[in-house]
Amino acid sequence: MDIKEIRRDFPLFQNYPNVAYLDNAATTQRPERVLLAEKRFYEEANANPLRGLYELSQKATDIYEDAREVVRAFIGARSTEEIVFTRNSTESLNLLAYSYGSLLQEGDEIAISVLEHHSNLIPWQQLAKKKRLKLQWIEIDENGRITEDAFRRALSEKTKLVSMTLISNVLGTRNDVKKFARIAHEVGAVFVCDGAQGVPHVPVDVNDLGVDFLAFSGHKMLGPMGIGVLYGRKELLDRMPPFLYGGEMIEYVGKEEATWAELPHKFEAGTVNGAGAAGLAAAIQYYENIGFEKIVKREEELGELTFRTLSEIPHVTILGAKDAASHHGIFSFMVEGVHPHDIAEILSADDVCVRAGHHCAQVLMKELKVNSTARVSIAFYNTEEEIIRLGESIRSLRRRMGYAE
């Protein structure tokens, strides 16, 4: 993999040659072909997809539906009916909590882990409140892992739904979703997987994993902001009521009554994000042109280097697993005596972008007994030189904060 060449594909890196962008878990950068795919949609096919019968609208519809097929193939879904376009993971998960949630009854249980991002936590918490469901928490061990025991403890014969992230956005740990989905099915629960951090960095096949639903965001995988995906098993999507009502999602409408469009349109009310879908398809094709296995391998190597670099710096603690491979490119760390916000600010002065805060995971922060952390998250296009610069900046932190060493 020629990183120099790859970086040339990203206009932002051309514009900011000195910036080390290490906040990829928040959002990635986008290659030019993604930007062009969006532009081309508006320049060459712009009409309202799925509405007009004239040629332009047909073209817009084709691009939109072709993108759906690209997404389907990427995650190994059986049919494009199972691919719903949304705005992002958050919307996908809210759709589920609202729609699948409406099928649940008082006294039913749902289980989520303490690792969850607020997007996969608040929708279920509020659903539980509204419908008097019981919310069960799946705990983690001292390395941030969910053991089979801990998982089983949170389940009962009343569990109707389990929702869990594939990869933690704070600790980088990967949950054994394949095993947990199987166990959830044994008690008759459906399994929802938050793939926001997983889908961009590890190969995902929904049937191999055995998940019933999968949510992810385009912007975390080289695609545009404003396009996301909800995968759902057809039998389940068929049983679920619509999330939003309006245009495009209907079959027949009368004064008193309406019937719903076929899948997946039943869940895509209103004018869709055609250009966004085109951009997401281009992002997936970009991954595939390089080769997803190569990307995974490259990120493993960079992760290894990052882990080693951070581990060697005095006063630095990495949260979570004690081996590089378990981090999937995400490293939350603390520097003794330096608040994470100060870390991020000083690194920013060196043109090194890292995130500081609670990472939308306040429940996990409490569990880890911290208020906030600093976080480095890498992508394949990062360079060894950037990681070395990160290390040097972190090494200088305490001195710059007024400590003797």
């Binding site: 608040h339 916000h341 100060d342 600010e345 805060g357 609670h358 208020n371 007024g402 400590y403």
Partner: protein
């Protein structure tokens, strides 16, 4: 906060605070929290005849939030309540980029935080102590 002179002032107050300690004062304390980042300070003042006789704070958070509290106490201890309110107003306007040079001069070391007006993400940290002071003095007036 890249101006190293200012950075030093902040570091100094953060690492070697003068006023970060316990202080006995019944009913004249107030806690301020930035829920989003966890900055947390409890401010205590000893008032006598409308004058701030002594003050202290406890808490934890980023350097800016903690240094700001220490610098603020340096400035207001010994001043009348009305004067403290006036200085707080200047400080809050400085952070919005709306205070004049002369006014900032009056803030003494607190003027070191003027750079924060260019750092939207840090505004909450810088103003926490001052908002807490406002609240405390307001409650104290009742």
């Amino acid at each position: 906060m890249q101006n190293s002179f200012y950075r030093e002032i902040i570091n100094d107050h953060n690492l070697y605070p003068t006023h970060k300690h316990e202080l006995g004062c019944a009913g004249c304390e107030h806690r301020g929290i930035n829920p989003n980042c966890g900055d947390d300070i409890t401010l205590k003042l000893q008032m006598e005849d409308g004058v701030i006789k002594d003050g202290a704070y406890l808490g934890d958070g980023c350097a800016i939030s903690q240094a700001s509290a220490d610098i603020m106490l340096d400035l207001i201890i010994g001043k009348r309540k009305e004067e403290a309110i006036r200085l707080t107003d200047i400080f809050l306007r400085m952070i919005k980029g709306e205070a004049t040079e002369d006014e900032i001069e009056e803030l003494e070391e607190a003027g070191a935080l003027t750079d924060v007006s260019h750092m939207p993400a840090r505004v909450k940290c810088a103003v926490l102590a001052w908002h807490t002071l406002e609240q405390l003095l307001h409650d104290n007036a009742k």
